[in-house]
């Protein structure tokens, strides 16, 4: 009974488990307990790791990597906007939404990987600064949620069947959530730059 329920609704149960985990982390004060222990890691990233040393010593390398980071975010944002605005019926109305969802996915994954790799380098160069920024943690949380939402929730549903068979309000909800969460990632990233 329980086994069949789990196999039938595995994804839904995992979402519920993730929500329960977040509630427990907050309720038990685990976030406040773990936060101070992360400072030595960020200080090490800035002062001792080769990433931090290169980032703080060679400004040109830091600027180049940051440019790649911004370009990756631009490509990522482009794929998200193209897909989600098509799902909302705003642009590319003559192209089937299934074609855009599958066609932009590879580009999205490469851009996400590049953004994360270059982002680690950029964060290492200012590790002891971003540690104290609330907006940095907002960006990391939003990035984690956005990546999981895209890779494990949105894409599996949209590639499982023709979109005509999915409730249009579900598709609209997915598209609006996707746009807003990636907007939050981008806005928080720019906020870090101006803090």
């Amino acid at each position: 009974m329980l086994g069949s329920l789990f196999s039938q609704y595995a994804r839904t149960l995992l979402v519920a488990a993730a929500l329960l985990f977040i509630v427990l982390v907050e309720a038990l004060g685990m976030r406040e307990a773990v936060y101070p222990s992360l400072l030595p890691f960020f200080t090490w990233m800035r002062e001792s790791s080769w990433l931090g040393v290169i980032g703080t010593t060679y400004g040109s390398i830091y600027a180049t990597v940051e440019a790649v980071h911004l370009l990756s975010m631009a490509v990522l944002g482009g794929t998200v906007l193209a897909t989600d605005l098509r799902l909302l019926g705003v642009i590319f109305k003559d192209v089937p939404s299934e074609t855009l969802v599958t066609g932009t996915y590879k580009c999205f994954k490469i851009a996400l990987l590049m953004a994360i790799l270059t982002g680690i380098f950029c964060a290492a160069g200012v590790g002891d600064k971003v540690y104290y920024m609330q907006v940095f943690w907002v960006k990391m949380l939003a990035l984690l949620a956005a990546s999981c939402f895209m890779l494990f929730i949105k894409q599996p549903l949209l590639t499982s069947r023709p979109h005509i068979e999915i409730n249009p309000w579900s598709i609209r909800l997915l598209a609006i959530t996707s746009i807003l969460i990636w907007f939050t990632v981008a806005a928080a990233g720019r906020w870090i730059g101006f803090s």
Binding site: Q8, Y9, A10, R11, T12, L14, V15, A16, L19, V138, A142, A145, F149, I153, K154, P156, L157, S160, E165, I166, N167, S170, L173, L174, I176, T177, L180, I181, T184
Partner: protein, 56 residues
């Protein structure tokens, strides 16, 4: 929805997680807007975007 008209696992997971994330994001951005307004009121006494005598 599957052929029996019941919501399937992927749809329930997608809709519920999207609703939770969307709710959290709206809550966050409204909070940020509210704190910005409070900061502006603290700085200028009352919120006045245009023709503010304190902004030269």
């Amino acid at each position: 929805m599957n052929e029996n008209g019941k919501l399937d696992d992927k749809t329930i997971a997608a809709v519920s997680s999207a609703a939770i994330i969307l709710g959290a994001l709206i809550y966050y951005w409204i909070g940020e807007g509210q704190s910005t307004v409070e900061l502006l009121e603290l700085a200028y006494g009352s919120l006045k975007f245009f023709n503010n005598p304190l902004v030269f």
